[in-house]
Symmetry: C2
Subunit: 524 residues, 2 copies
């Protein structure tokens, strides 16, 4: 019954943002309220083709789950934490974009590290493949099974163990939802140094496992910097406890980094310790309109120079992305149409100082003509509204059909050229080709939409987009990871020696290859 | 001849700070000038007992260097880059503290990655052990050989390849001296997000290999966060190129982290890419006197809250450390004697704003009595003078005899108790027992001095200090690493499963164990 309710809730909301898929238009809606709106228009999961069929994958030499296995799991976890019903499994077998679909018949919900360890020990002995799953908000098919892998969900592992107010370190289980965790540490005057559109659903363990980036990397850096401790369970069931809550710990190889960004293929993250900065006392958000991409780059440069230590986000949206949000989500840009838009956020400890810095920056940017129009929000509901425009582009795109998603790092000078080139290349064969993302980090989200998945469109995009990226020494996956969908393109960003070493490490740590198979490492 | 000159320069200066060991007292001395002072009082390297004898180490089953090997190296690198003379090798066989001494008879000076690769390929085939060496400023005996390991110096690999002003990323070879590199990026309005007392000598590759911490971690985080790319040569000679200059790159396992902090035991770092923040336009430094350690903690808490994003350093010095500096280096504290001192630095983009924040913080701290006395420096020479007090404590200590150095992370509530307990335990058996360090990071430098090395004093300190640290879940090496001296204490901070995995990784990546043997991993 619990499962049913859980699934129904997911079904009516966008599983990534936890917002209703058909979002009621309101400029002053409060995000907390949004999370509790139950739309009457129930949108079910898109039931796409099986991944194994669409991508012609061969099943690995793993055992198949039998009744004896089920009995073992029920005995270990109790019946209600062993999910077997197909309808309850549907949302866990499919990603929220409807791009990939597996056929698992078992989902397990351990509550603690010991249970994860016992499950893995058993699965390793039986050569049963597993797929670790957090909030299932990934974008590269990393968090759903490809065949019948047992899904190990962290959804019941959501305890916050400790918050140290002075050092700013929070330690918690991996199943804590990012937004809930952030609200928890807010009570101590702290913030989680990670924010992304999926915050209402994604689990912190999934964030760590995928090295999630998001909206504030420009200020707080990535998770390799802010995660101080990780506890993970290896394929064998052995627990690797690197749960230091110390800011500095140079005692041997820093194993936690193995689990950050390896997408559950080297271990299942069960606990994390994160260094949290003080929660800012003042936040301002500017929404700007610009005529050319050159102006965008110039404005970013000026923002870095003039806003310095208070710059906490620097985002970019092109006209086509904005149109998509306006059309499908009925959100309205707060300024007139422009070819390009930027969101520039400041966060600091003194509102007078921050406003003075921001005003000086804006006056000069508007005065020089680099920025054509803009508005500044300081009240929370207004800022949330503006942020929702940026955060919900991915959601808006799926209203138009199948989204081909590319998440690439590029040198700034090449940043937008790839969108223009792709537009030229695809012409009228697609509904939309647009770009947005984290200009502050050199991270572009290139998105292309067609009515439904078409192999010939994929062939027009890939590997060209990866070749272009490699030519300018970019990264073919900036923050989404490789998962299932990008794994065979790793060589565009990594050398053969590096790939060989990765495979050796996988063989060392998971010799039977049961941890999240068909993901990250290339087939050949 | 080049080597002779090189060695002579090292001999008259403190090799860690590159400052004369007998420093002329001058409040207005400029640091750049200091580096060029050639003191007439030549202080030679302390010639301590051989490490292998003092610590009763068994030599590994490595080949011994023969004439054929020398011929190969000379053929590869030319004669002048193969150092064979005992007098030239002395400074490379010994650490600057005079704690450890090896007996290498060959030092190689490759100029590029290809040469390092060729050397390693040869050494691996011949089973010749090597010791990678940067500026040899380490504090745990990690950068000098234990027996006759071939020293591979990065001193000629000091080319800066590129600085991208907009993204702030610098790419360079690993032998760049930290301070020189920082001066180079300063021309682009950037700074290296790492600063430490040894900046004038240490190499960036050594910093990366040891995951050096230093004075500004509280603001800029550690190197796992700011290093974007690493190129390293494996024991086999294979080159692992992870030299991304992108801020975000989630394409597979992030191998660069294997080389950050593994102290040259998994590979030799040949190039790095570092994300540099904008160089601050305004810097202020407050030097404070406090009566109790409780006041220190309270002041740190207030500094975090009130200075927020501009707090760039928060250091702590106890009375005994200050006495040592005053006595041996003739530096004078800028305020009257206090039981405790703090250095609080702000860096920001607007001097008026920063000064206002700092003044508000200081007024409240002085008003509440938490801080008894203080002075603020804004002019560079004055700030350098105050910083030199903090940075040269390690150097001052060696004037008094042999220093037993401990570098531990502790929860703030336990931070200073360990110094007091150790003072009680050691009583009159030692000359000095003092504590200083990075209070902002929870990182204490506990230092004990006796006239010369005494085994019975070591036995009074160890393993007690590690046991105390482990009891409060601290780290027995916060930033110095394990090197040779701390390797057998790893179990106080790492679980047996974690140590087992580290050993497996070492076996995978360096099956013959030729890379910096006797370091990092425990013997048993």
């Amino acid at each position: 019954m619990l499962m049913m309710r859980h699934f129904r809730m997911r079904a009516i909301k966008c599983p990534r943002t936890a917002l209703p898929l058909l979002y009621p238009s309101s400029q002053n809606a409060n995000r907390k309220k949004w999370h509790h709106i139950h739309s009457s228009a129930v949108t079910s999961y898109p039931r796409c083709e099986l991944t194994s069929v669409r991508y012609n994958v061969d099943r690995g030499k793993f055992s198949q789950v039998c009744q004896e296995d089920i009995d073992f799991f029920i005995n270990l976890l109790d019946r209600h934490r062993v999910v077997l019903e197909e309808s309850d499994l549907e949302g866990h077998n499919t990603d929220w974009l409807g791009m990939v679909r597996g056929a698992s018949s078992v989902l397990l919900k351990p509550r603690n590290t010991e249970e994860v360890s016992a499950v893995m020990n058993y699965c390793n002995q039986r050569t049963l493949a597993v797929c670790p799953q957090g909030g299932n908000t990934g974008l590269v098919g990393g968090s759903v099974p490809v065949f019948d892998e047992i899904i190990i969900s962290t959804s019941l592992m959501n305890e916050v163990e400790n918050v140290d107010k002075l050092s700013g370190v929070v330690t918690c289980q991996s199943g804590c939802v990012l937004e809930t965790l952030d609200q928890h540490v807010a009570e101590y005057g702290l913030m989680i140094p990670l924010d992304l559109g999926a915050k209402g659903s994604c689990h912190i363990g999934g964030n760590v496992s995928t090295n999630a980036g998001g909206l504030r990397v420009v200020r707080y850096g990535g998770l390799h910097g802010s995660v101080l401790g990780v506890e993970a369970v290896l394929a064998s069931g052995e627990v690797i406890n690197c749960m230091s809550a110390m800011k500095k710990d140079n005692t041997g190889y820093d194993l936690k980094h193995l689990f950050i960004g390896s997408e559950g293929t080297l271990g299942i993250v069960t606990k994390v310790a994160i260094s949290c900065p003080p929660r800012p006392k003042a936040v301002n958000l500017a929404f700007l309109g610009l005529q050319t991409f050159e102006d965008v780059l110039h404005t970013f440069r000026e923002a870095k120079a003039k806003l310095g230590e208070i710059l906490s986000s620097c985002e970019f949206i092109d006209r086509s992305s904005m149109e998509c949000v306006e059309l499908n989500l009925k959100l309205r840009a707060p300024i007139d149409p422009h070819p390009f838009y930027m969101l520039i956020e400041t966060s600091g400890s003194n509102s007078d100082h921050d406003e003075e810095k921001l005003n000086m920056f804006l006056e000069e940017s508007l005065g020089s003509g680099q920025v054509s129009d803009g508005t500044v929000a300081t009240e929370p509901s207004r800022m949330l509204y503006i942020w929702s425009i940026r955060e919900r582009i991915a959601e808006a795109l799926i209203h138009e059909g199948y989204t081909y998603k590319y998440d690439i790092s590029l040198p700034h000078k090449d940043f937008y050229r790839i969108v223009e080139n792709m537009k030229d290349r695809l012409g009228d064969s697609v509904i939309r080709c647009c770009g947005y993302g984290h200009i502050g980090d050199g991270n572009l989200h290139l998105n292309i939409v067609s009515k439904e998945f078409q192999r010939d469109i994929v062939n027009l995009i890939e590997p060209t987009v990866f070749e272009w990226t490699a030519e300018v020494s970019g990264s073919i996956s900036a923050e989404h990871g490789l998962g299932f969908k990008k794994r065979n393109y790793m060589h565009f960003s990594k050398s053969s020696n590096a790939i060989k070493l990765m495979k050796q490490m996988k063989m060392l740590m998971d010799p039977k290859g049961i941890l999240n198979p068909y993901k990250v490492l290339p087939e050949m």
